[in-house]
């Protein structure tokens, strides 16, 4: 771990910087007695030195490490014999992996071809040089920062203000990460999707009725047969999410009503956490439950009444997904119902309405926008849910309206396309990114609308 050692060294340098800065400031005013002449407390001069010592060096190190492997790989590859280099991108990638694995010692060197072995040695040599250069550069940057600040320290230097400005900038940087993540998602998914749409046209993808990505491996079928029609996936997703919402909305809403309006405090305090357990269970557990308990149960029940139920039926996945979403809806609806002012209820009671009439005709109507927002959020979650459908829904893209048959969903296809072999220029893997883009856009729209509705509703009663 040379990088870890470098970090430790840098940290030590920063501590040294703190001490140097602090001592320098004290020394300038003649020790602790002259502290009044300093603009800031001595510790701030120390912090300023330490920050200037560590931050630029850290930045250099981060950028260097991010680019190091890519640059070294391309350097090594450019030195390979032409016969080895002239392959397509996929094989070149494999070769790079081989070289790296030899360097890391993951595969025995004896098993490799001589050219690859030479390349691996070259790689190791370059890596050694790079590590050495990095260590030198980082420590030099640290020392330079230290020396520069030390030379600038004088009693009038506004050290506290500088330190605080740096901290504030760091805080701003951290909050910008959220924006960068969104940008990263959009750019990476969009870029790969555009590559996909070079091979398969957009309307073929969005309107095509046939989905069979496997056949694309055959040379005569790439991007030609319309095998990337995603409509069956969209329909499957809609069906499973629809079943989930049919379970979750009534159960979640009625439990919220009961807990908020009828239940006494003791009942509420003991039952609400139990319902919230459902929200804390990992989705892979739901998937296991759906695939190995609910699925077979539905099939046996179907056999008893003479119905043919597929073992990976949309019904099983949808039911279990509905269970997963119950606490989501019930807690949101609970918030919305308790936010309705008591005066509205009192008014309804005064007119002679019963409790249920009040709830149905006054409370629910007042809370409706908020509840709709919550349901929209729940739908977005159902669409994006992955593990339950990966484990309990089918793989084959069927166009069917029968919930007892197996259907597949967008998320299932993303997972199946991207686990296993990875060939990054085939439409098969790129299709996953196109599906991801659709998923991202749809859920984004749902979320934006839902959050707006919920916020507006909250403001109304605040």
């Amino acid at each position: 771990m040379p990088h870890f050692a470098l970090l430790v060294a840098l940290a030590a340098l920063a501590v040294l910087g703190y001490w140097v800065g602090k001592q320098r400031s004290l020394q300038l005013v003649g020790g602790g007695r002259g502290i009044r002449k300093l603009h800031s407390l001595p510790a701030y001069y120390g912090f300023l030195t330490a920050l200037w010592c560590a931050l630029p060096a850290l930045l250099i190190m981060a950028v260097w490490l991010l680019l190091q492997d890519t640059i070294i790989s391309s350097l090594v590859l450019s030195k390979l014999p032409v016969a080895l280099r002239g392959q397509n991108a996929g094989e070149l990638g494999l070769l790079t992996n081989d070289i790296r694995n030899i360097v890391l010692g993951n595969i025995p060197a004896a098993a490799a071809r001589p050219e690859v072995l030479v390349a691996a040695q070259d790689y190791r040599r370059l890596q050694g040089i790079a590590d050495l250069a990095l260590s030198g550069l980082v420590l030099a940057a640290g020392l330079a920062g230290l020396a520069w600040v030390r030379s600038r320290i004088n009693p009038a230097l506004r050290a506290r203000n500088s330190v605080e400005r740096i901290i504030e900038l760091l805080l701003l940087g951290c909050s910008m990460i959220a924006v960068f993540v969104t940008l990263g998602i959009v750019l990476s998914v969009l870029y790969e999707s555009l590559r996909f749409f070079h091979a398969v046209s957009l309307d073929q993808f969005l309107l095509g009725l046939q989905w069979s990505p496997q056949t694309a491996l055959r040379a005569d079928q790439v991007g030609s047969s319309g095998a990337f029609g995603a409509v069956p996936l969209f329909l499957g997703t809609v069906m499973i999410s629809g079943i989930a919402m049919l379970v979750a909305v009534p159960v979640g809403l009625f439990s919220a009503i009961y807990l908020a309006e009828y239940a006494n405090r003791k009942f509420r305090a003991s039952v609400k956490p139990v319902l919230e357990i459902l929200a804390g269970i990992p989705t892979v557990v739901y998937g296991f439950f759906a695939a190995l308990t609910v699925g077979p149960f539905l099939r046996h029940t179907g056999e008893l009444v003479g119905l043919k139920v597929a073992s990976e039926s949309a019904l099983a996945a949808g039911l279990v997904m509905g269970i997963m979403i119950i606490p989501f809806i019930s807690s949101l609806a609970d918030d919305m119902i308790t936010a309705v002012p008591q005066s509205l209820r009192d008014g309804a009671y005064a007119l002679g309405a019963t409790r249920s009439e009040t709830i149905r005709q006054v409370v629910l109507r007042a809370a409706l926008p908020g509840i709709v927002g919550g349901v929209l959020l729940a739908i977005s979650r159902a669409i994006g849910e992955t593990m339950i459908v990966v484990m309990a829904a089918g793989l084959a893209a069927n166009m069917t309206a029968n919930p007892l048959e197996a259907v597949t969903t967008v998320t299932v296809q993303i997972v199946t396309l991207l686990t296993g072999d990875q060939e990054f220029d085939s439409p098969k893997t790129l299709a996953a990114f196109a599906l991801g883009l659709v998923l991202f856009v749809v859920t984004l729209i749902l979320n934006v609308v839902a959050l707006k509705v919920v916020r507006k509703y909250r403001e109304q009663y605040e």
Partner: protein
């Protein structure tokens, strides 16, 4: 229009019965929905526990093994490399044949050897290499049986089925029953489940590799998301002026919290693996992806914690001449810290259960070794559950449930910590 009071009254009274009935029905729907939810929890937990409990015990058989010098070291060299490659499975076979005499022929011997796990031979090898003086002696050993014997002993194999429909033959059942009668076969605490990595053989598979992988991955996540999340929350809550930029950041964070987790996996695959060339299946990359995933949760919780600190604290500090940074660092942050920690733990609990994005970055590979570093190939607990759930062997079913129980135990622990933290340090103003 001018109905008399009596008429109205009669109408209302006639409708009362229906309205009261509707009231009762409505309330019953509510109660039913609540009970349905609670019932789901009960069904899930009881099915998980009843399926998974047995995996914590495993069938072991006591064998009398003769360390035959003819098999281990026919040349008598006692060289460690010769000892390491000897045919230890033959020792097991001989021991079994001594117990059940009259077994002849390849098929029958193979059936007999199938009663004992492949790990038994490895165990013998380990012992002999460690103490070569064992050669030529007899020893009574407790070794793992194969998963089929284990399942038979736990009553999970239906003896009434036709032989072809079972994974264990009639003859093997007779042998196993003989062992039981002789007191050689018994269920013991399944220590390997907690100390081994994954394996293709159910009886040797354990969760330790996945637990270590989860610890590494969550370690990276915690180290990155806690400071970054808190810093972002402080900026947005305490420093940011309200303008278009901060609005954009806010909307972004709220939306990111609701983006499907698998999209983060796509981001990790395209950016960290393909663009930056980071290693596949590594806890480092998994941790990075989970950091992006949990950041919004932590930021939102931390902002709520900062909001809960009353403005009078800030005003007092500012009034005493503290700068804004000093106000935050010395007064607001310490008071908001319990709330922030609670939010972080809940975010970590969510990250621990997250599976889908890790499938995208290759943490779904079959890995036997326990990872030793952040860049070693690794898997995590929920992915281990996913892998085992897809295995056809009956014995993996109980192991999947048991792994889920382990996962849930960790989650309960984390959430309980969060609750305790909240109850202990939460201040009401």
């Amino acid at each position: 229009m001018n109905r008399s009071i009596a008429e109205t009254r009669a109408r209302v009274e006639r409708s009362l019965k229906r309205r009261r009935w509707a009231e009762r029905r409505f309330q019953a729907y509510g109660l039913g929905a609540v009970l349905l939810g609670v019932g789901f929890v009960a069904i899930m937990f009881s099915s998980l526990i009843s399926q998974g409990w047995s995996a914590f015990r495993q069938a072991y058989v006591t064998l009398e093994v003769f360390y035959d010098p003819e098999i281990i070291d026919p040349d008598g060299t006692r060289k460690p490399e010769d000892l390491a490659i000897a045919d230890y499975a033959a020792l097991i076979r001989n021991s079994l044949k001594a117990k059940f005499p009259g077994v002849e022929g390849r098929a029958a011997t193979k059936q007999l050897a199938g009663l004992v796990s492949g790990s038994a031979a490895q165990e013998l090898q380990r012992r002999v290499v460690a103490t070569p003086s064992l050669i030529g002696q007899k020893q009574t050993l407790v070794v793992l049986t194969s998963d089929t014997v284990d399942q038979l002993l736990k009553g999970r194999i239906d003896r009434t089925l036709e032989e072809e429909n079972r994974t264990i033959s009639d003859q093997q059942i007779r042998w196993a029953d003989q062992w039981v009668r002789d007191g050689q076969l018994s269920l013991r605490f399944n220590q390997r489940f907690f100390t081994n990595g994954d394996s293709r053989e159910p009886e040797q598979a354990g969760v330790w590799g996945a637990i270590v992988g989860s610890i590494y991955t969550l370690g990276v996540t915690l180290l990155l998301s806690f400071p970054i999340g808190i810093a972002a929350a402080i900026y947005l809550e305490e420093f940011a002026r309200r303008n278009r930029w901060t609005d954009l950041i806010e909307v972004n964070i709220n939306n990111l919290a609701a983006v499907p987790s698998i999209v983060f996996g796509l981001l990790g695959l395209a950016m960290f693996l393909n663009f930056f060339g980071m290693p596949r299946s590594a806890p480092l990359v998994g941790g990075l992806v989970l950091t992006l995933l949990t950041l919004p949760t932590i930021i939102i919780a931390s902002r709520a914690a900062l909001k809960a600190v009353p403005p009078s604290i800030r005003e007092a500090a500012l009034g005493m001449g503290a700068s804004r940074i000093q106000t935050v660092m010395h007064h607001v942050l310490p008071m908001a810290m319990p709330g922030m920690l609670t939010g972080t733990i809940i975010g970590m609990a969510r990250a621990l259960g997250e599976t889908a994005p890790l499938l995208m970055i290759g943490m779904v590979a079959f890995i036997v070794d326990v990872p030793k570093g952040l860049t070693d190939p690794a898997t995590v607990l929920p992915v281990q559950v996913f892998l085992w759930a897809g295995s056809p062997e009956r014995a993996f079913l109980e192991r999947t449930s048991a792994a889920i129980l382990v996962l849930l135990a960790f989650l309960v622990l984390m959430n309980a910590t969060a609750v305790v933290l909240r109850n202990r340090f939460e201040r009401r103003w």
